[in-house]
C-alpha cells in the first residue's frame, strides 16, 4: 500500500521483550504491587463491616473456646500438657494463618483476572499478596495470643525472641504451597475442593489439639508420620520457644536430627516445586484463565 518500508535504526536503549514472567519487571515493582494488593484486600475486608477487625479475631477465639471445652473438660485430653490453653490458642492461630493464606491463594489468579489480562506485572505478586494479607491478620492475632499467654501464667522468657524463626519458615512454606495451588488451579478447577479437604486433614494431622509426645505414647509410627509434615515441626518448635523447655522442639519431636531431615526435605522440596511450577506457568497464565 505505502512505499516500501524504510528500516529505521532502533532507538538507543531498546531492550528485547520476552513476554510476561513470574518475577519480571523488577523487584521494586513486585514489592510495590504485592504490598498494594495485600493492603487493599486487608482494608476491604474490615472497612465494610461495623466491627471490622474484631470479626477476624472472634473466629479463631470461638473455635479455640469450643476445642478447649471439648478437649479439656469433656474428653480430658489436654490434662498432662503444660499450659495447654495457651499452646492450643497459639497453634490454632498459626494454623489459621496457613489455612487462610493457602485457601485464598487457590483462586487468586482467577479472581484477579481483570488485572492479569490487562496489565503487565510480575505474576508472582498475586499469590504473594494472598499470603501477605493473611500475614497481616496473623500479626494482629498474635497480639491477642501474647495477651492470653501472659494472662494464663506463662512467664516471659528469652526464647520468645526466637519466635520470628518459626514465623519466617511458616510464611515461606505458605508461599510455596500458594505457588503450587494458584498455578495448578488455572488448569484444574477441582484443586479448590481438594485443597479444602487437605487443609482439614492437615488440621488433625498436625499437633494442634494434641502434642507430639502424647501421640508417641500411643503410636510411634503415627508420630513419625505426623512429623513428616513441616507444619507439625514448626508448631512443636513454636511450643518449645513460647512455653519453655518442657516441650520437645522440632528436632526432638521428629525423633532426633536424622529423622528431622525428612520434614526438612519435604519443606524445601515443596517450596522448590512451588517456584518451579509457578515460573513455568506464569508466562501463559493470561491466556489460560
Amino acid at each position: 500500500m505505502s512505499a516500501a518500508e524504510v528500516e529505521l535504526p532502533l532507538a538507543p536503549g531498546a531492550r528485547e521483550m520476552h513476554g510476561p514472567t513470574a518475577l519480571g519487571a523488577g523487584w521494586r515493582r513486585l514489592f510495590d504491587l504485592t504490598w498494594l494488593l495485600a493492603v487493599t484486600d486487608f482494608r476491604l475486608s474490615y472497612f465494610g463491616s461495623a466491627l471490622g477487625y474484631v470479626w477476624s479475631l472472634v473466629r479463631p477465639l470461638l473455635f479455640f473456646g469450643v476445642l478447649y471445652v471439648v478437649f479439656t473438660k469433656v474428653l480430658q485430653v489436654g490434662g498432662g500438657i503444660p499450659h495447654y490453653p495457651a499452646v492450643l490458642l497459639l497453634n490454632i492461630v498459626l494454623y489459621n494463618f496457613f489455612a487462610e493464606a493457602t485457601g485464598a491463594s487457590v483462586q487468586s489468579l482467577v479472581v484477579r483476572e481483570a488485572l492479569v489480562r490487562k496489565m503487565h506485572f510480575p505474576r508472582m505478586a498475586v499469590p504473594l499478596a494472598s499470603v501477605l494479607t493473611a500475614a497481616f491478620n496473623l500479626m494482629l492475632n498474635l497480639v491477642a495470643v501474647l495477651i492470653f499467654v501472659l494472662a494464663s501464667g506463662v512467664s516471659p522468657q528469652l526464647t520468645w525472641l526466637l519466635f520470628p524463626f518459626v514465623l519466617l519458615p511458616l510464611v515461606a512454606f505458605a508461599i510455596g504451597i500458594a505457588m503450587i495451588l494458584s498455578s495448578l488451579y488455572v488448569r484444574f478447577r477441582d484443586v479448590a475442593p481438594i485443597w479444602l479437604v487437605v487443609s482439614q486433614l492437615l488440621f488433625y494431622g498436625s499437633p494442634i489439639i494434641y502434642t507430639i509426645d502424647k501421640l508417641r505414647e500411643r503410636s510411634a509410627t503415627a508420630a513419625h508420620l505426623v512429623m513428616l509434615n513441616p507444619l507439625a515441626d514448626l508448631l512443636e518448635q513454636a511450643r518449645r520457644w513460647i512455653v519453655g523447655p518442657s516441650a520437645a522442639g522440632a528436632v526432638d519431636a521428629a525423633g532426633g536430627p536424622v529423622h528431622a531431615l525428612a520434614p526438612l526435605a519435604v519443606f524445601l522440596g515443596l517450596i522448590a516445586l512451588g517456584f518451579w511450577l509457578f515460573l513455568r506457568e506464569a508466562p501463559h497464565v493470561a491466556e489460560n484463565l
Partner: protein, 404 residues
C-alpha cells in the same frame, strides 16, 4: 514529530492459541481420559507480523473482530508470550492496555488513584505526589472522598484517563478508549493526545473508529486474519478497512424488493474515480451511481427514483429520472440504465442507497429496494453538518467600532 528512530520493532511475530478440544478442567476427567489431552484446537492468531513504530509516532492498529489486533497489543504489552519472532522496545512502556485497571468500586477516588497509579508503574510516593494534579485534570475535586461506585461511568473514565496522563510512559498501548465522557471531556482527551504527540510520546492505539485513526495517527496498520494487510497512510488504511468490512453482498433484494410485476431492479452499484463497483469513497471525490432495471411488461413512461439515507435514516439526497428528462417507453424484457453523477460532499459515515421503480412519475410503484447498496464515506470528518454545501465564505472587516 516522529524521530527517525524506531521505538518499537516487531519481526515475524507468531502466536497460536492452543485450546484443548474438550477442555480438561478437572483432575477427574484427566484421570478418566488420560489420552484425550493430546487433542487441541489451534487458533493461529498472528502469522508473522513485522512492523516498526518510530519514536514519537502515533500508530493506529485496525482490523475486524478476530483479526488479531488485540492479541498483538497484548504481546506488545507483555501480557501474552509470543510463540516466535522478536520484539524490541525503547523507553518506558506503560504496563496496561486499558484505562482504570484495578479500580475498586468499594474504595474512594483518593484510594483508587493511588492504587491505579501504582498499577500504572508509579511508585506509591510518586502516586501520592501527583494526586492533586490527577484530580484537577479529571475535574473531580468535589468528589475525592466518595466511593467509586457512586461515580457515573463518565466520571470513572475521567479519573482513569487522568491517572494515565500522569503515568509518565514513553510508550503507551491503548485498546479502544474515549468511548465515554461528555463532549467537553472528549475534547480535553483529544487535546491531551495532541500534546502527547508533540511531546514525543509513542502511542499505539487499537480501535474500530476510523475517524480517530484519521484524526490522530501518523501511520496506521490493518490486520486481517493475522497478517498485515496494509500499513502506511491512515486515510488509505481506513479506506482499506472499510472495504474489507463492507465487502459482503449488499442486502438481499428478494427480501426487500417487490419486483414481481411490471418491472424489477436488476442492479445497483457505485463507481468511484478509478474504483469501479466500490462501496467506499473519499469526501470530495466524484461518484457515479448506477441503477439498471428491466421491464416485465410494456411500460409507457416508467420512472426511477434513487436516494441516499444516513445511518439515522435521514434522507440526505434524492433524485429521479425526471431530472434527466424522463425515460422513454420500454418493451417487455427491455432494460434501461440510469446514472447519477455527483460530487461527494457528504460527511464521513455509512450511507444507504435506496431505489424505486414506478409505472409513471409520481405513482404506481413496481419495485423498491430500501437498501440497494452501501456507501461508506471517509475523509470528511471536518464537515460540520451532514453535507458540505457548495459554498463560499466572505469576510469584511469593519473600520468603525460598533456603536455602544
Amino acid at each position: 514529530m516522529p524521530s527517525p528512530c524506531a521505538a518499537i520493532r516487531v519481526r515475524d511475530l507468531d502466536k497460536t492459541f492452543r485450546r484443548p478440544r474438550n477442555r480438561v478442567h478437572t483432575l477427574k476427567e484427566r484421570a478418566l481420559h488420560p489420552f484425550r489431552s493430546g487433542e487441541y484446537d489451534e487458533q493461529h492468531v498472528l502469522r508473522g507480523i513485522s512492523f516498526d513504530v518510530a519514536q514519537g509516532e502515533f500508530f493506529g492498529i485496525v482490523g475486524r473482530n478476530g483479526s488479531g489486533k488485540s492479541t498483538l497489543l497484548k504481546c506488545l504489552a507483555e501480557i501474552y508470550r509470543a510463540d516466535a519472532g522478536r520484539m524490541y522496545m525503547a523507553g518506558r512502556l506503560a504496563p496496561f492496555i486499558e484505562l482504570g485497571v484495578g479500580f475498586n468500586p468499594e474504595l474512594t477516588a483518593r484510594e483508587n488513584v493511588l492504587i491505579n497509579g501504582v498499577m500504572m508503574g508509579l511508585t506509591p510516593r510518586e502516586a501520592r505526589a501527583r494526586f492533586d494534579e490527577i484530580i484537577a485534570f479529571a475535574e473531580l475535586e468535589d468528589f475525592v472522598d466518595q466511593k467509586l461506585k457512586n461515580y457515573s461511568s463518565g466520571m470513572q473514565v475521567r479519573l482513569a484517563f487522568a491517572v494515565m496522563v500522569q503515568a509518565d510512559a514513553d510508550v503507551l498501548l491503548i485498546d479502544e478508549v474515549l468511548a465515554v465522557g461528555d463532549a467537553a471531556f472528549q475534547q480535553k482527551c483529544a487535546d491531551t493526545f495532541y500534546r502527547m504527540r508533540e511531546e514525543g510520546t509513542t502511542i499505539v492505539l487499537v480501535t474500530h473508529a476510523m475517524p480517530m485513526v484519521e484524526r490522530f495517527c501518523h501511520r496506521a496498520m490493518l490486520l486481517h486474519d493475522g497478517v498485515v494487510d496494509a500499513i502506511g497512510d491512515p486515510g488509505e488504511v481506513a479506506r482499506r478497512y472499510l472495504e474489507l468490512n463492507f465487502s459482503g453482498p449488499t442486502p438481499d433484494r428478494e427480501a426487500l424488493g417487490l419486483g414481481t410485476q411490471g418491472a424489477r431492479i436488476v442492479d445497483v452499484w457505485i463507481d468511484g474515480p478509478g474504483a469501479p463497483r466500490t462501496h467506499t469513497l473519499a469526501h470530495g471525490e466524484e461518484l457515479a451511481l448506477h441503477v439498471a432495471i428491466e421491464a416485465l411488461e410494456p411500460l409507457a413512461a416508467p420512472a426511477i427514483g434513487v436516494w441516499l439515507e444516513s445511518e439515522e435514516h435521514v434522507r440526505v439526497f434524492a433524485t429521479s429520472t425526471d431530472r434527466g428528462g424522463g425515460l422513454g417507453p420500454l418493451a417487455a424484457g427491455e432494460r434501461a440504465q440510469m446514472t447519477v453523477r455527483a460530487l461527494n460532499t457528504l460527511r464521513t459515515g455509512h450511507y444507504g442507497v435506496g431505489v424505486s421503480v414506478s409505472r409513471a412519475s409520481g405513482g404506481g410503484e413496481l419495485d423498491a429496494l430500501g437498501r440497494a447498496a452501501d456507501l461508506i464515506v471517509y475523509g470528511g470528518d471536518h464537515v460540520g453538518g451532514l453535507v458540505d454545501l457548495q459554498h463560499r465564505v466572505e469576510l469584511t472587516a469593519s473600520l468603525e467600532k460598533a456603536a455602544r
